[in-house]
């Protein structure tokens, strides 16, 4: 793919995205809820596209394609189990939304801190999220680095790609907070779903239609259509990879924070269903890309190069290839800027506000904005390490985030849950996950995410049972949710 074509397309994308981000500058920019939640007024259409763009990032079209390239249809199953986990939004989404509106929560950690009546719950869960989300942001940056280097045959270096992405993520986050992010997300979601589907059609036609596509896979490696296939997806690996991702929609704060944003429950319904349809198409597209690359280019050294190789090949027309490339880049950036905003809100709202006595809303916002570039630089430095496969690293980050799941579930469904239970489950399980990830990623044959969830659940229950629960708050909180759930749904 010509380097000039790539640079020109990136320039066009940057100009259009900046214009859209500026156009989105309306309403309150000076409060935490205005800047980080869009005043809780996002409509269903923007919410759905923005939720999709935040969730589906470089991971899908680069990482999942790479995973399918390496392990066959197991990659599809892995993503479908994640997809099924989005159903948690159908259970927790309205509950988050209701309590967010009533108590004015800006972050999921703030909600936990208030529900368990302990600022330390908020501080600990916020720090834990920051710790694990920085590598996840780095994964997105790495994806862009590989992508640009791959499609231009190294003419644009890995580092240049990562620098461009870091700068753009900071710019979009700054322009209008979550509004600019949501609108640029929407632009890129529409671009992505259209162009990547077109690429699939082009590839399948090239391989002789749907029959030809599957025949080619069977001829090359029939095991790719079954699990465990070539052994990459043995059952325990599959389980270890899927468990953390199943809980992604409530464990990842940049995603669960979005449950506070829709203007109404009707908007949230559109967000959920729009996302599911979008996600299903996108999953199939990514998997078809991975399979196609394995048929057309079976000897790649690095599976994460499957997508760049496919896009720069003769099969895909250059103009279409470059549009998709820009779309993937935009997808990754939209995920990073959402994470930047969430992490900065976690830091300012849950850490800074709780350790200082006089942090009013405007001060919190100022600190949040100051923290954005700091987090971006940390992610940049992490990306420069060029660690491991994108998909595997993403899962490692999710394994760390899963430890907050028992405390979240408990906040809505278990009045007996306590602050010491939540804190011990998050702290000790996070340490365990870090220890497992820093050794060989397995303990007694099981991946860190499974251990993280098991120990967090056990600790949360046992420690809660031997400590005093905040009875009044628990009663008020759960009662409010119960009553309103009854009145808002039949």
């Amino acid at each position: 793919m010509s380097t000039t074509l790539v640079w020109s397309s990136i320039s066009v994308y940057v100009v259009i995205a900046i214009i859209i981000a500026y156009l989105s500058r309306s309403g309150d920019q000076k409060s935490m809820a205005g800047y980080f939640l869009g005043e809780r007024k996002l409509n269903g259409f923007v919410s759905a596209l923005s939720y999709s763009a935040t969730t589906y990032s470089a991971f899908m079209l680069v990482g999942l394609a790479g995973l399918t390239y390496n392990g066959g249809v197991g990659g599809f199953g892995f993503e479908i189990i994640y997809f099924m986990g989005v159903s948690l939004v159908a259970i927790f989404g309205p509950r988050f939304w209701l309590v967010g509106k009533k108590y004015g929560y800006v972050t999921p950690s703030e909600m936990l801190g208030d529900r368990y009546q302990s600022k330390w719950v908020a501080i600990v869960t916020a720090i834990s999220s920051c710790l694990f989300l920085i590598p996840y942001s780095a994964v997105q940056l790495t994806g862009i680095g590989y992508l640009l280097a791959g499609v231009t045959d190294g003419a644009i270096s890995f580092t240049t790609g990562v620098v461009i992405a870091t700068v753009l993520a900071i710019v979009f986050s700054y322009i209008a907070g979550i509004r600019s992010v949501a609108w640029t997300d929407s632009l890129q979601s529409l671009l992505m779903i259209t162009t990547s589907t077109l690429v699939v059609i082009v590839i399948i036609v090239h391989l002789g239609g749907i029959d030809g596509f599957f025949d080619a896979i069977e001829a090359k490696d029939p095991q790719a259509l079954a699990v465990p296939g070539n052994g990459f997806f043995n059952f325990w690996t599959f389980l270890g990879l899927t468990i953390p991702w199943f809980f992604f929609s409530i464990s990842n704060p940049q995603v669960s924070q979005r449950l506070f944003m829709p203007a109404s429950l009707k908007s949230m319904r559109h967000m959920l269903l729009g996302f599911l349809v979008f996600g299903f198409i996108y999953t199939i597209v990514s998997v078809v890309w991975g399979f196609s690359a394995s048929v057309l280019f079976p000897d790649l050294e690095n599976a994460d190069l499957a997508t760049p190789t496919l896009l720069s090949s003769e099969v895909v027309p250059p103009v279409l290839g470059v549009i998709v490339m820009v779309g993937i880049m935009a997808a990754a950036i939209s995920t990073i800027d959402s994470i930047l905003l969430t992490l900065s809100s976690l830091f300012s709202r849950d850490v800074y506000r709780n350790v200082t006595d006089q942090a009013d809303d405007s001060k919190q916002l100022m600190v949040g904005k100051l923290v954005i570039p700091v987090i971006a630089v940390l992610a940049f430095l992490f990306a420069k390490l060029e660690l491991d496969l994108i998909a595997v690293l993403s899962v490692a980050a999710s394994s760390g985030l899963i430890v907050v799941v028992p405390a979240i579930i408990g906040s809505f469904f278990w009045k007996r849950g306590t602050a010491p239970g939540a804190i011990s489950s998050v702290v000790l399980s996070s340490l365990l996950v870090i220890w497992i990830e820093s050794t060989d990623g397995l303990l007694l044959g099981l991946k860190s995410g499974i251990w993280g969830l098991l120990t967090a659940t056990l600790l949360f229950i046992v420690v809660s049972l031997v400590t005093e629960a905040p009875k009044q708050k628990a009663e008020e909180f759960t009662q409010y949710v119960r009553q309103n759930m009854r009145s808002s749904r039949s």
Binding site: S87, A90, A226, L265, I284, S488
Partner: protein
Amino acid sequence: MNQKEKIWGLVILIIVFLGYFIPYAFLRDVTKWYGSFLIWSILAIIVIIANYYLAKNWGEEE
């Protein structure tokens, strides 16, 4: 949880279980598109339908 959440939540839980069980227990030797690829696609569509019913009446009185 209300009655509807319990019923559809259970349906989704069963689907998730089948998402692990069927491909690894029954379809290991089916190296065709109508093996794991098809079953995961069908299960995903059932999940979309279950979510549709779960969210169907959200915010109706607003």
